[in-house]
Point group: C2
Chain length 279, copies 2
Amino acid sequence: MTLSSLLRAAPTVDLAAIDSRSTPGFAGDKAAGEAALAALAAPLADVQERLFAEGVSGGRRSVLVVLQGMDTSGKDGTIRKVVGMVDPQGVRIFSFKRPTSEELAHDFLWRIRRRLPEPGLIGVFNRSHYEDVLIVRVHDLVPREAWERRYDAINAFEAELAEAGTTVIKVFLHISATDQEERLAARLEERAKHWKWDSADLDERRYWSAYQEAYEAVLTRCNPDSAPWYVVPAGRKWYRNWAVATLLHETLTAMGPTWPDPGLDVPALRARLQDEKPG
Amino acid sequence: MTLSSLLRAAPTVDLAAIDSRSTPGFAGDKAAGEAALAALAAPLADVQERLFAEGVSGGRRSVLVVLQGMDTSGKDGTIRKVVGMVDPQGVRIFSFKRPTSEELAHDFLWRIRRRLPEPGLIGVFNRSHYEDVLIVRVHDLVPREAWERRYDAINAFEAELAEAGTTVIKVFLHISATDQEERLAARLEERAKHWKWDSADLDERRYWSAYQEAYEAVLTRCNPDSAPWYVVPAGRKWYRNWAVATLLHETLTAMGPTWPDPGLDVPALRARLQDEKPG
């Protein structure tokens, strides 16, 4: 059984029933998990390079990894540890912040479309268009009828991406309120982490249940086979890293990019290389 | 003695006199070089994160690494192996190709300015504005008086960057014509490398001497202390990787970014975290 099928969001999701510190699909401990992650480095880099080569050679396919999760769920850490395993020239990472006034003047997908990965690349969204049915829904930043329409708009948008050759995978990093409390406390204890502190994170904790509901709605309503959601228990960082790396590896492997064949006349080119001396 | 002072381009550079397979500043062999590179991972990531934290906290500083070199000199490999050592969210890589018609309609620095790193980031240029006094000079793509003016324009531009808080380091990956022949031959021998083949590289080999002269002009005329050139012998990939990682580490360390102090009231925040239960 693939990890992709094991972590795929169910038709109905009850996040409270999923243990954030569980390690589905992995029997070992932290040391074994870190070793398994390291063992993925070479195969992941290999299949990423094939996708890249395909893009250079006229292929149109790309991958888009959407990373979502509550504050401190580890989106940045996942990018550092997992996306950092492949050639940085093969990835395009974009971190979506609070929309600018220019962005707000457009449809919510406008700023998203501008950051889509080019052919051959792995795009990574650190937060995404889903914020427009998460924070926006929780705080009613637009009227309910406006955000209600967005689920369908997102499904249509993602279908369009699949059509254009972009394989979309969506990863929800699942932590508990207790995990978050521990991580926020750790930020306070360590001087070198103070720059990450944002007291707004404390304010948002008051809306924990509303966010969990908003995530459940997303996982339920925007989960077609062509743009699946995966729920990754993220209470243990080593498992989270291994799981996301494995999901990415499985996705790329299923796409099966092969080395392009430009049909070189190797003997002729070899002769030319030897005959023509540098000027 | 730092590696930066050892590899800094001399006031007059004779590239033919520099052995591309030499390993200045490193006494060991390949295995030792790879171990030394691995040992740089943690300190490099640490100082990069400090720079990033500084940028998030209102700092204006950034780094720009300009990578130049003949075809097959290893620009892509350096990015994979060295830039790949740090958090991908802390770097902005841009690969400059043949200019588009829109780019050609502007001053040669127009497209460069649009890709400068934001505060806190390490920008990496895979090729750069120097192409406008390299390939452009070798092939007279603009009249001589036009490219002659560009050396001064580049110096003024880079002085402006330094003024704005961007530390510029420029790395020339030095290979010999024989190194290049071996690497092009290797591309022909290996099916998985055929996608990298470009017969235009063979055509360019006829201009080897003209390129070396153009590089010597650049290294001589655009080499102020505020935007120094380093000549990295790149005939041995392991040395090239260690040397570029060391140059980057020395540069970041000299900048001395420190953890920002947002002046948190830790006891009060800790109490608030414990008191306010998630809603």
